[in-house]
Symmetry: C2
Subunit: 143 residues, 2 copies
């Protein structure tokens, strides 16, 4: 096969074990497809206000968390010999992912079975199902 | 990469354009992964009784339809240079697919975005979302 099935694969990362598993899977697939990975973390601004921490501080915590897990994800891809690009967005998680798929012309999204927002107290439920339904490109759900 | 990510890929076929697109995608992926494809068609016995045709005749129509599209799917894989095995089951579509994934130890299911039952008057709605949630292995939804 001369033409790769996937050229740009988007991998949402959130630091959860599901997301880490999806990233490892994405690295292996990227190697066989000669694809590059776009790692995306979305600072979720759609969460309701939490009493114990003001919104500004809360978002600041998420931004720092995002930078930290993005660095870790980037290190993982480098160690596995895969080229990656890091993208950090702010807004609604699935909407920002879909906007990025369109603007970056991705061929595939690889997501964990659960996760996306799952990180201790930031647990917000899965957006994988929503992505599978709404994404304009193919979606691989890794288990 | 020496080890293939996928050894056995299950592809439910139903003759719909969505299923055909998923099959073409599966062939390309199988070639890069040195995987074999298991093509499955499930005679859906969970449909309610239809007045205009008795159950026995209805199931007979579905069985013949299944054989026909299975032959077509098998021809497609052969033309694309991919090894495939054909499986015809009867029962509830998603349950039979998941049982087969387990018994055949498949690593991946590739499904169309819609389809599975979609064939003219046999349109029964999509089981892709159900598969994505319940399958024990990874699921690729092709768009």
């Amino acid at each position: 096969m001369k033409k790769s099935l996937y050229l740009k694969i988007l991998v949402p990362v959130d630091g959860s074990s599901y997301s880490n598993k999806a990233l490892a899977h994405a690295c292996e697939l990227a190697k066989t497809q000669k694809a590059i990975l776009l790692l995306i973390y979305v600072v979720d601004k759609s969460v309701p206000f939490l009493n114990f921490i003001d919104r500004r501080e809360y978002l600041s915590v998420l931004r720092n968390y995002g930078k930290k897990i993005m660095k870790k994800a980037s290190d993982t891809t480098r160690l596995r010999g895969v080229t990656s690009k890091q993208i950090i967005k702010e807004g609604n998680v699935s909407k920002e992912i879909i906007k990025t798929v369109k603007s970056e012309r991705c061929n595939l999204i690889i997501v964990g079975n659960k996760g996306l927002g799952a990180a201790g107290r930031f647990l917000l439920g899965s957006t994988s199902t929503k992505l599978a339904a709404d994404a304009p490109c193919s979606v691989l759900i890794v288990k």
